[in-house]
C-alpha cells in the first residue's frame, strides 16, 4: 500500500500546473473564482487554448487527438484544471457525443464530426430529458418517422443545457412506438440546430440564470446519415454513455479550491466551534472522496476493466460535498452585504442545488448501486 503519487505522476502534475499558470487567462480564472457568468466566447476561448496544446480530449484514441494518458494522469489533469479555476470543458461534445461516435459512429460520421468537436467548431448539446421523461428516460415520446432519405422528428426536449449556444444536438428519439419493450424502439440521432422546425426557449432557473432550455421539434427533417448505430439501438448507445466517464463526477479539484476559498473567506468564523466542525466534516468527506476515487482508479489500472457501478458513489458524495461547500459559503456571507461577490455566492447556492438532480439524480445513482453492486 502506497498512497503517494509516483515521481513520474508528480512530474506530470507539475507540468500541467506550470502550463496552467502560463496559459489560463487571468480574466477567465477570475470569472470562475468569483462565480461570474461564462459566455459562449469564454468557454470556446478556453476550449481552443486546450485544443491548441493537444489537451482538450485526453480520453480519445491518439489517432483522433487523444493524449494517451493513463487513468491516473487523466484524473490529475482534470483535478488540476478544477483546482486552478479553469472554465469547465463542456462535456456534450468532447466527452459525450465523441464517446458515442468513437464507439458506434460510422467512419464518415467520425471524420465529419470529431475534428470539429476537437477544435471547438461545433458546440453540442444533449437532447435526453422530456417533460414526461426524467429519471424514467426510456418513456421518452419525441418521435422520428422515416420518410425516404430522412426522418421527420416531432416532440419536445427539456432541461437542455446550453442549447442556446449549440450548433448540434444529439437526441434520443422513438423510431418505433409499437414495440412492447419500449427500450427497443429508441434511436440515437444527430441534428443540426439550424434545421427548420427546431425552436429553443429559455428556462430561467431560480438563480435567474439562463443555462437550460426547452427544445421543440416541429416536422424537423433529419438525413438518415445522421442516425448513429442502428435504428432501434439507441438505448444501447444511451446505456454505454451513462457508464462512460463516470469517473469524472467527483469534481474533487474544484471542491478543493472551493474549500480553500471558503477557509480564506470565512477565516473569522473558524473561532466558532459549531461552524468549524461543520466545515471540518466537509473537509474530511472530501479527503475520503479523493482517496476513494484514487482506489477506483487504481483498480481500473490494475484490472484494465472499466469502472463498475459502484463508482456512482463518486457522483453522490461529490455533489453532496459541492452543495455543502456552497451552503457554508452562502452562510458565511454577511446577510446585509449586497456587493457582487456576496450576490454571486448566494446565486451559486441556489444554482448548486441542481447537482444532485442532474446527470442521473442521486436517487437514481443509489438505485444503480443497489441493483448492480449490492444485488438488491
Amino acid at each position: 500500500m502506497d498512497l503517494n503519487y509516483s515521481a513520474e505522476e508528480l512530474a506530470f502534475r507539475d507540468e500541467v500546473r506550470a502550463w496552467l499558470r502560463a496559459n489560463l487567462p487571468q480574466d477567465l480564472r477570475e470569472k470562475v473564482e468569483n462565480y461570474a457568468h461564462l459566455s459562449k466566447e469564454d468557454l470556446l476561448r478556453w476550449h481552443r487554448a486546450l485544443a491548441k496544446n493537444g489537451w482538450v480530449a485526453p480520453a480519445w484514441p491518439k489517432e483522433w487527438g487523444g493524449t494517451g494518458w493513463n487513468v491516473i494522469q487523466r484524473y490529475l489533469f482534470e483535478e488540476e484544471l478544477g483546482y486552478a479555476g479553469a472554465p469547465p470543458i463542456i462535456p456534450f461534445g468532447v466527452t459525450m457525443c465523441a464517446a458515442v461516435l468513437l464507439r458506434f459512429g460510422s467512419d464518415a460520421q467520425k471524420k465529419r464530426f470529431l475534428p470539429r468537436i476537437y477544435n471547438g467548431d461545433d458546440f453540442w448539446c444533449q437532447g435526453y430529458s422530456e417533460p414526461g421523461s426524467g429519471s424514467d428516460l426510456a418513456s421518452l415520446k419525441t418521435k422520428a418517422v422515416r420518410q425516404g432519405d430522412h426522418y421527420v422528428v416531432n416532440g419536445q426536449k427539456i432541461w437542455t443545457t446550453l442549447a442556446h449556444y449549440a450548433d448540434w444536438i444529439f437526441c434520443l428519439v422513438r423510431t418505433d412506438p409499437t414495440l412492447e419493450k419500449r427500450q427497443e424502439g429508441i434511436s440515437f440521432l444527430l441534428m443540426d440546430m439550424k434545421t427548420p422546425g427546431i425552436t429553443v426557449r429559455p428556462l430561467i432557473l431560480m438563480d435567474g440564470a439562463h443555462e437550460v432550455n426547452e427544445v421543440f421539434f416541429d416536422d424537423v427533417k433529419v438525413p438518415l446519415e445522421n442516425l448513429v448505430h442502428e435504428e432501434g439501438k439507441g438505448w444501447t448507445v444511451a446505456k454505454y454513455l451513462l457508464g462512460y466517464e463516470r469517473m469524472n463526477t467527483g469534481r474533487i479539484g474544484e471542491s478543493r479550491r472551493q474549500l480553500a476559498r471558503l477557509k480564506d473567506y470565512a477565516a473569522p468564523m473558524m473561532a466558532n466551534p459549531r461552524w468549524r466542525d461543520r466545515l471540518t466534516r466537509v473537509e474530511v468527506e472530501l479527503a475520503a472522496l479523493e482517496i476513494t476515487n484514487l482506489r477506483f482508479l487504481d483498480r481500473m489500472r490494475r484490472t484494465g476493466q472499466p469502472p463498475g457501478a459502484d463508482v456512482s458513489m463518486l457522483k453522490i458524495k461529490g455533489t453532496e460535498i459541492q452543495q455543502a461547500l456552497t451552503e457554508l459559503m452562502m452562510e458565511a456571507t454577511d446577510p446585509t452585504a449586497s456587493d457582487p461577490l456576496s450576490d454571486a455566492v448566494r446565486k451559486r447556492y441556489l444554482s448548486t442545488r441542481k447537482t444532485t438532480i442532474y446527470a442521473g439524480s442521486n436517487e437514481i445513482q443509489r438505485n444503480i448501486i443497489a441493483k448492480m453492486t449490492l444485488g438488491l
Binding site: 500500500m1 502506497d2 498512497l3 503517494n4 503519487y5 509516483s6 505522476e9 491516473i72 473558524m270 466551534p273 468549524r276 466542525d277 471540518t280 466534516r281 473537509e283 474530511v284 468527506e285 479527503a287 475520503a288 472522496l289 482517496i291 476513494t292 484514487l294 482506489r295 482508479l297 487504481d298 483498480r299 490494475r302 459502484d310 458513489m313 453522490i316 458524495k317 436517487e363 443509489r366 438505485n367 448501486i369 443497489a370 453492486t373 449490492l374 444485488g375 438488491l376
Partner: protein, 353 residues
C-alpha cells in the same frame, strides 16, 4: 500509488481470517465471552501465526510490522469481534521498543508475555495530558501511585505500560501487573478491562515522554480505524444478507426502495471509512501525521455510528436481540467510535493542528 496489501500482508490476513472462521465463529466467541472473557487457546494461535511478533522490530527478532502490515489483521479481528487484547499489546510493544526496554520482547513474541496499556484516568475523557497518576524517584528506582481506568486487558496482562506524571512531566513506566490492584469488569463491547490502582508500586521508567505517548496513541488510533472497518464490513454484509432473505408482504424486504437507499448509504460510508483507514495507517507508518489520523478517526467515528445504527434498524426487532451477532457488532462499533477519541475530540484536535 497502490492500495493493495502486498503478498505477505495478504497471506497473513487470509490465514488469520481462516483461523477465525474456523475457531472463532460467533457461537465459539459467545462461549469465550461467557467464560473467562478471553481464550488462552486463541492467544496461543495468534502467537503461532506470528501476530505477537509482528509489531516487534526485526532487530529484536520480530517481523517489524507497521500499521499497514497490521491493518488486515485488525480488519479481520473487527469482522470477528475478537475480544482478546491484541491492540494493547501492539501499543505496549511500540512503547517498550521506543522507550529502550527490550528485555521482555522474546516472551512477547512467543506469546507467554501479555501486555496492556494503562493511560486513561477517570474524568480525563480523551485529554492526552490529563495524567494525575504520580511517579516518584526513590534512589535509582521509581514508584507509581494513583489510578488508571478502563485498562483493556489489564486482568490478563503480565505487565502494564503506564503513563505517570513526575516532576519533569509525563512519561511511560513499566510495572508488574501482579503488584497492581485490578478491579476487573467487562466493557460494553464484552472485552475484559480493569480499573487499576497502584500504591507505591515500583516501576521502570521508559525513555520518550509525551511525544512517545502521542506516537503510540496515533498508531493505535490508526489501527482502531482498521478494526472498525472490519466490524463495519461485517455489519454491512450481514444487513445486506438479511435484506435479501427476510420476507414481508410476500417479498424480500430488500425490494423496498426505502431500505435499498439506506443500504447503499451504509455501503458508501463503509468505502469512505476504508479510504480513511488506508490514509491513517499509511501516515502512521510514514512517521505519523496527527492531522491525517484525526481526520480518519472523525470519518470512522461518524461511519461507525451510521452503519451500526442502521444495521440494527434494518434488522428490525432481530437487530435488538442478544442472539444475533449484529447486536454485538453494534456494541463493538459504539465503543470503537469513541476509543482514543470520539469525533468531537478529533474535530477539535484537527482544527488545532
Amino acid at each position: 500509488m497502490n492500495f493493495d496489501y502486498n503478498e505477505e500482508q495478504q497471506l497473513l490476513a487470509d490465514s488469520v481470517r481462516r483461523y477465525l472462521q474456523d475457531k472463532y465463529q460467533f457461537e465459539q466467541r459467545r462461549k469465550i465471552v461467557a467464560g473467562e472473557g478471553w481464550s488462552a487457546e486463541a492467544w496461543t494461535q495468534f502467537a503461532q501465526m506470528g501476530l505477537t511478533g509482528l509489531p516487534v522490530s526485526t532487530e529484536h527478532d520480530g517481523f517489524g510490522g507497521g500499521a499497514v502490515d497490521l491493518m488486515g489483521i485488525m480488519e479481520a479481528f473487527g469482522e470477528a469481534l475478537v475480544v482478546e487484547p491484541y491492540l494493547p499489546l501492539v501499543m505496549a510493544v511500540r512503547a517498550l521498543e521506543r522507550g529502550g526496554s527490550v528485555g521482555l520482547l522474546p516472551r512477547v513474541i512467543d506469546g507467554s508475555m501479555k501486555l496492556a496499556w494503562a493511560h486513561s484516568e477517570k474524568g480525563a475523557r480523551y485529554d492526552v495530558d490529563a495524567v494525575r497518576l504520580g511517579a516518584k524517584r526513590k534512589g535509582s528506582a521509581w514508584t507509581l501511585e494513583g489510578e488508571k481506568a478502563a485498562v483493556i486487558g489489564a486482568p490478563t496482562a503480565d505487565r502494564l505500560v503506564v503513563t505517570a506524571r513526575a516532576s519533569d512531566g509525563v512519561a511511560l513506566y513499566l510495572v508488574d501487573r501482579a503488584k497492581a490492584e485490578v478491579k476487573a469488569y467487562r466493557t460494553m463491547d464484552e472485552r475484559l478491562a480493569g480499573d487499576v490502582t497502584l500504591r507505591g508500586v515500583e516501576a521502570q521508567r521508559l525513555e520518550g515522554g509525551m511525544p512517545l505517548v502521542e506516537e503510540v496513541l496515533d498508531l493505535a488510533t490508526a489501527l482502531v480505524c482498521a478494526e472498525a472497518v472490519g466490524a463495519m464490513k461485517f455489519a454491512c454484509d450481514t444487513t445486506l444478507e438479511y435484506l435479501k432473505t427476510r420476507k414481508q408482504f410476500g417479498v424480500p424486504i430488500g425490494a423496498f426502495q426505502a431500505l435499498q437507499h439506506r443500504m447503499v448509504d451504509m455501503f458508501i460510508s463503509l468505502e469512505q471509512a476504508r479510504s480513511m483507514a488506508c490514509l491513517a495507517c499509511s501516515r502512521a507508518d510514514a512517521g505519523g501525521d496527527a492531522r491525517a489520523i484525526s481526520s480518519a478517526k472523525i470519518k470512522i467515528s461518524d461511519a461507525a455510528r451510521h452503519i451500526s445504527q442502521e444495521a440494527v434498524q434494518l434488522h428490525g426487532g432481530m437487530g435488538m436481540s442478544e442472539e444475533l451477532k449484529v447486536s454485538h457488532a453494534f456494541r463493538r462499533l459504539t465503543v470503537l467510535a469513541r476509543e482514543f477519541g470520539d469525533a468531537d475530540h478529533h474535530l477539535a484536535r484537527f482544527a488545532a493542528l
